[in-house]
């Protein structure tokens, strides 16, 4: 079902689109300031090889209201915000990508195709929530997983939306591991994982980035942006190892909190400011672009963000309701 934006929101979209046009020339200048790559970056791809990406200017992340044993919900939200900021246009002038953390919500406790990009701390059970009905197998995750990122995407060769990211959720294992903000003195015992370090890496996956090295095995070696295979992780140079999207971390690691030139280039080339779609609330899981409500690609103010965020949450809530079973209901066409 295609949803129409209200008149004020449509007017706002026009204004923001105009601002985006004005800023396009500035974007060209900014693009020239994109960081020089050390080696390369890689992106997840659909089955046809199309690189995955969001089609919107902005992506909303909603933390769940579950706190961890060591961090309050507000601390988790603040950490998520700082971890998103490093990938965002406010930090990188070359990109239009606008990443925002919304207020914690109980709606964000689930990993599902509902349009809510959730950040969930699991602390009672390292399992899917809510649990499936009995007799349908094990719903629990592998205890060796510290954090999981799940992505929904269109995967249809030949479709203009092939590779479009529709929804992405991050779950953090608070059952088997301790989490903290280490630089804030939150890990006196030296046993915790740094949450910002992990979230910055996971948010890289959330926006469609693959690892900068190949961990071996039967899976195909990812190709970098130049078309070459990424190096083996074990043989990677220090430059590659230092990237946020390198496939390894250690306890106490803080280096992934900040981006290296390869990580920055990935954002700049995947979401270049010159190609800003000027659309903030865009994914219609029923197909098509759906709500063309928001611009936000450039120069959007906090008040406008609030409108967009409200619209996003309302839309997500509607989708969530629609996708839940209601006895005999029609199959939703995704």
């Amino acid at each position: 079902m295609r949803r129409r934006a209200s008149a004020p929101v449509r007017r706002w979209a026009v204004v923001v689109a105009a601002r985006a046009t004005i800023l396009t020339s500035a974007a060209a200048i900014a693009a020239t300031a994109a960081p020089a790559p050390a080696h390369g970056y890689a992106r997840f791809r659909s089955d046809s090889g199309t690189p995955m990406r969001w089609f919107e200017s902005c992506v909303f992340i909603t933390p769940s209201t579950n706190p961890s044993p060591d961090l309050t919900a507000d601390q988790i939200a603040a950490t998520a915000r700082s971890s998103l900021d490093v990938w965002d246009r406010d930090t990188l002038a070359c990109t239009y990508l606008d990443l925002k953390v919304l207020a914690p919500s109980p709606d964000a406790s689930f990993v599902r195709a509902d349009g809510v990009n959730s950040l969930v701390f699991r602390q009672a059970r390292w399992c899917r929530e809510p649990a499936r009905t009995s007799g349908q197998g094990d719903d629990c995750y592998d205890p060796s997983a510290l954090a999981l990122t799940s992505v929904f995407l269109r995967n249809r060769p030949g479709d203009p939306e092939d590779g479009r990211i529709l929804d992405s959720d991050v779950e953090v294992n608070g059952v088997n591991f301790r989490w903290s903000n280490i630089p804030d003195g939150g890990d006196p015992g030296g046993q915790a994982q740094d949450l910002a370090n992990t979230l910055t890496h996971e948010f890289g996956h959330l926006i469609g980035l693959d690892h900068t090295c190949y961990t071996g095995g039967a899976a195909a070696r990812p190709t970098d942006h130049t078309g070459n295979g990424v190096p083996d992780c074990a043989a990677a140079s220090p430059d590659v190892r230092s990237t946020t999207m390198f496939a390894s971390t250690g306890r106490g690691d803080l280096d992934k909190r900040t981006l290296e030139p390869d990580d920055q280039l990935a954002v700049c080339e995947t979401y270049p400011i010159a190609n800003d779609p000027a659309r903030c609330v865009g994914v219609d899981l029923d197909g098509g672009d759906g709500c063309s409500t928001a611009g936000g690609g450039a120069g959007s103010a906090g008040g406008l963000w609030a409108v967009a965020a409200t619209a996003a949450l309302a839309l997500a809530a509607t989708r969530a309701r629609r996708l839940r079973p209601r006895g005999r209901r029609q199959r939703t066409s995704l």
Partner: protein, 196 residues
């Protein structure tokens, strides 16, 4: 067949190993997953098998929230867990593709019909899970020259970690590709050690 006493022993060992692992290796996958050595994979698995994928079926779950894939397998060899050849089991994984929509859990194993692999599995035979996500799957290929089956290095696995000069932990090379008969001997040896 795992007895109650061996199960209890296994659970106890699980706790000890979890603590030990927490103190050492923390390499990342697509998602962030603790590295497991071959020994740990063997110990955590209820079954270690060579299996062929007969079918992969993906569907939305009952709430239409996630895509689940059911992978039907034919057992070729069972190294742990005592199953006859040709026995059928199924693996359940989150993720898959339905009607042009894909759900991908980064770091989870992926299966293709007809492929053969060594699998470290836990849980019931009707809905087993792969241990350690992609770490618990070792793809097999037949060497064209020698005709020997080779077990690939596990996808997305860094089996151990070692400190670099600055003291940071980095993955050592994953358990490398090696002939299937060598891997079989190693798994059987580790399994019998654990049983004692």
């Amino acid at each position: 067949m795992m007895t109650r006493s061996s199960l209890a022993l296994g659970i106890g060992r699980a706790g000890v190993t979890a603590v030990a692992l927490a103190s050492i290796a923390l390499p990342a996958r697509g998602s962030l997953v603790m590295a497991l050595t071959l020994d740990e994979l063997v110990w955590r698995a209820d079954r270690v098998v060579v299996a062929e994928v007969l079918d992969v079926r993906s569907s939305w779950d009952e709430r239409r929230e996630q895509i689940r894939s059911r992978v039907d397998l034919r057992i070729v060899e069972a190294w742990k867990g005592g199953m006859p050849a040709d026995y059928r089991i199924s693996v359940e994984e989150t993720g898959g593709t339905v009607d042009g929509i894909t759900m991908r859990v980064i770091g989870a194993p992926r299966f293709v019909r007809g492929e053969r692999s060594v699998l470290f599995l836990r849980g019931p035979a009707a809905a087993a899970r792969v241990v350690g996500m992609a770490q618990g799957k070792r793809g097999l290929r037949q060497d064209a020259a020698s005709g020997r089956w080779i077990a690939e290095a596990a996808a997305g696995v860094a089996a151990t970690v070692s400190p670099d000069p600055s003291g940071r932990l980095f993955p050592a090379p994953p358990d490398p590709a090696r002939p299937l008969d060598e891997l079989r001997a190693e798994v059987l040896r580790l399994s019998s050690q654990r049983a004692r």
